[in-house]
Symmetry: C2
Subunit: 516 residues, 2 copies
């Protein structure tokens, strides 16, 4: 797929409603998108329907079906009133396995008003895989998706879905079977752990697989939110968070201390998940142990986004975004209506300076650093949407809070800090130090030099400065500027960055015209 | 003018570059707009050219003209490279009064590349008036515009420009004439004050005029920024700030303590204004004394925006926005792409509940409160642009930082807090208490009830709930909901607001179907 900087001319804005009737939660989400352009999630309704609650050999419980029919009618009315004619409605484990299938479908389709697909375990895993692989850089590893009814583990090889296993180990089912009481003890968890181990024992490719694991689904997101709150994590972003297995076990301990009705006092745990998250946490922790991994990488996208990507990327087959990180940046460039020719020229100059600094031995080229600089260059004016004044601060806020799927949190923080640093005073990175990598404070100073000088050289927006050569004689950093026309203002502006260069490289900045 | 919720279909996006060659500062700003729709300032270059520095009987100084020509060429290159063909370039006092007019125009037009209008004092005041009156609710009062070369005072009657006076009392001129040294003493200010009093003495309509005064220009904005920093004001917004005359005098005292070169150590005072702001402050304080007013209301719009409004509002003559506050809200509705049918229905329900609460004696109707509730209703989903998750928090940030011209800061804070309060936990207003009005904490709770219940009733986005009646029997608040179709989910959702109602009205919430 060729990524474009903006949607093709005349490409209309479209909307897709995805209705996901899960075993625990029903959700209606609306995506706004342009084919080949950007997309955003613009609406969401969430209902803890508990479709699988009380299910038995006769099928799903009539009370569950009544709640489901209620919500289905609400969703049908929503898409009708909103005039959304593209609707992808699906249901998964609970309905798939139910004996009273006809009654179930009558309820879920709101008496035929919605066209609901019952996904097979393979399809469910496929869409979860699409959501995960299109919003992370996962190439090889596993995707673990825990729902209310079942768990899916997918093996990913070379960005392809190699194989999957689905087991009825969902958080609602396991709660009802193993932890139905108001209180649970450490001893109550043992049979559940044993059951999970047994259910996964016959899947050899899971055992001690190691490598990278991406986690999907409401339970895993809830555990991540709880862990962030418990550790006072400085970002609000769940997507991309690395949740350690030891952290899940600590949360299990904390939940054991409280009766189910009071567990929502734990920060990050919603009332309507307070009872099922304990069993879910035990299933996930046990699965991580079986897989032989210490961390799970939180993915806030999944089945619903997978259904969306299938539409968004058509006619691409398989519907895989080629460069997730690049697409994330370009998506925000379009959402925040950045001036692309200006941003691209600032990038070109900043990367040119970066490479020249390496050539004269001021640092060594690092592909990741270059990419962070590119991303910050493309997005440096994103905050103008909020207000031109302090737009560097607004850009920082927007980037941190919109997120950039595919980038690690340390990288997201660096891009936001670089945008914050592109004009006016350099930011204090201290509040974000908990997510930054080693050396990021130095890195920020070096990269900010490149970005700030590039922005000053492009201050006139005329793209008159075409390139920069760098020299590093004793105690100095000399920039030789190639320009079309009179570069006097560009030179004068760039010279204002002397103090920033001094701080980053301990050298005096001198700027001249190349060959002049 | 009919205000529209969105630009008419097919109305193209346009750009206007305004170049303002002032006596102290040159600025190029770019507005992006749709006729009949929204607008934003999207680019700005600012240069402290000091055009009037060193001017004498022979006209403007050759050094000044050289600096001016440099900047003019930069601006010409900017608009050419950006492909902006609609350019309004103007110059004011310094050029107007210069003896060497031909040399001046050669410099300012960059040798003919820019078409620069020399504004008369009347035209300068007219555009300043347009900027001020289109971004405030000023109906009757005065506009004071202090530039580097001159001061303009305009009398406004019924939103019309009644008369103006212009005097060469600009901050650069007064600095050169009265405070040229590196240091100044209290005694040095006396001749300047006397001079200002004398220059304004023959304008009877200024003397002790009283009433409302709106202040425009870089010096006045600088003083406001300094005062906000000195008093730890909780908002960053300058527009709408009430700067007290006593506060200006305190800033004068603070500046007197430092030599000109060190005054930029005072928070809010930029390096390139550090020398001229003292004289400017004295001129403004003296003018306020003459006018008999205790406060000046900061307007961050002025001449440049006036030139913009003339284009934006054409063919309207005079180019006056009919409802500034309403337009401000609708502008952000478009910038942040709010779902208008949904937002408008939430407004209708929220205002209906508000009125019903008054009918049953829970409060009295207040036109201002109703307007705040309307504004928050229209903008409640603005934060979805950033991320659907926590969009109430993002909306709070966007509204506070984009600002809503025409609303007082207390009102802006209330609208932002209401948006923040429309879902999830009620916000803590404490950080904004310094700007809020008395009773705003109670007001927030009452209005949040209306907004939250309306949002819950419109949760299905189907506009199925058409109205609400309120009754207030002993200890209860009863909502009777009129609906098309089955309102079960709406009722159930709205009932979740029981605790919020309890806190605001100390009554139990009960919800029923009207006539049911």
């Amino acid at each position: 797929m060729e990524l474009r900087l903006a949607a093709p001319e005349g490409s209309a804005e479209r909307r897709l409603a995805v209705i996901d009737m899960g075993s625990n939660t029903f959700r209606l989400v609306v995506f706004r998108y342009r084919t080949g352009g950007s997309f955003q999630l613009v609406d969401e309704i969430r209902d803890a329907v508990r479709l699988s609650a009380g299910a038995g050999p006769a099928g799903l419980h009539p009370d569950s079906l009544e709640r489901a029919a209620h919500t289905a009618r609400l969703y049908a009315a929503f898409v009708e009133a909103a005039g959304i004619d593209d609707v992808a409605a699906v249901t998964t484990s609970a309905a798939r396995d139910a004996a009273n299938r006809d009654d179930v479908m009558e309820a879920l389709t709101a008496g035929g008003r919605l066209d609901v697909r019952v996904l097979s375990a393979e399809e469910e895993a496929w869409y979860g895989f699409l959501g995960a692989v299109n919003s992370t850089t996962l190439g090889d590893g596993h995707v673990l998706d825990l729902g209310g009814g079942s768990i899916q583990v997918s093996q990913v090889v070379g960005r392809g879905l190699e194989r999957i296993v689905s087991r009825p180990l969902g958080a609602v089912r396991m709660t009802e079977r193993f932890l139905p009481g108001a209180r649970a003890t450490r001893g109550d968890l043992k049979p559940l752990r044993k059951h999970v181990v047994k259910e996964l024992a016959d899947v050899p490719w899971i055992q001690d697989a190691g490598g990278r694991l991406v986690g999907v689904g409401g339970t895993i997101r809830t555990l991540a939110a709880m862990h962030q709150r418990a550790t006072r994590y400085p970002l609000d972003e769940l997507h991309g968070y690395l949740l350690p297995r030891t952290g899940i076990e600590e949360l299990v301990d904390a939940m054991l201390e409280l009766p189910a009705t009071e567990r929502s006092r734990l920060p990050g745990l919603k009332q309507d998940r307070a009872d099922i998250t304990l069993a879910g946490a035990v299933v996930i922790a046990t699965a991580l142990e079986q897989l032989g991994v210490d961390h799970v990488e939180i993915c806030s996208q999944g089945l619903r986004e997978g259904l969306f990507y299938e539409r968004f990327l058509q006619p691409l087959d398989p519907p895989l975004i080629r460069g997730v990180r690049r697409q994330s940046v370009l998506n925000l460039v379009e959402v925040y209506r950045c001036d692309v020719p200006h941003a691209a020229h600032v990038c070109e100059l900043a990367l040119g300076i970066y490479d020249e600094l390496a050539r004269v031995g001021m640092h060594t080229i690092d592909r990741r650093e270059r990419e962070l600089l590119w991303a910050a260059g493309m997005l440096h004016d994103a905050g103008v949407t909020v207000d031109y004044n302090d737009h560097h601060k607004h850009g920082f806020y927007l980037i941190l809070n919109s997120g950039l799927p595919g980038f690690r949190h340390a990288e997201l923080a660096m891009i936001a800090l670089l945008v914050r640093a592109h004009r006016k005073a350099l930011p204090n990175p201290a509040p974000l130090e908990g997510v930054l990598d080693d050396d990021d404070v130095d890195r920020l100073q070096r990269l900010a030099c490149c970005l700030r000088i590039a922005e000053q050289l492009e201050r006139g927006r005329a793209r008159g400065v075409t390139g920069v050569e760098v020299d590093a004689p004793d105690g100095e950093l000399v920039l030789r500027v190639r320009a079309e026309g009179d570069p006097a203002v560009a030179l004068w502006s760039a010279a204002l960055e002397g103090p920033v260069v001094q701080r980053a490289f301990e050298r005096r900045l001198r700027i001249e015209v190349a060959g002049g």
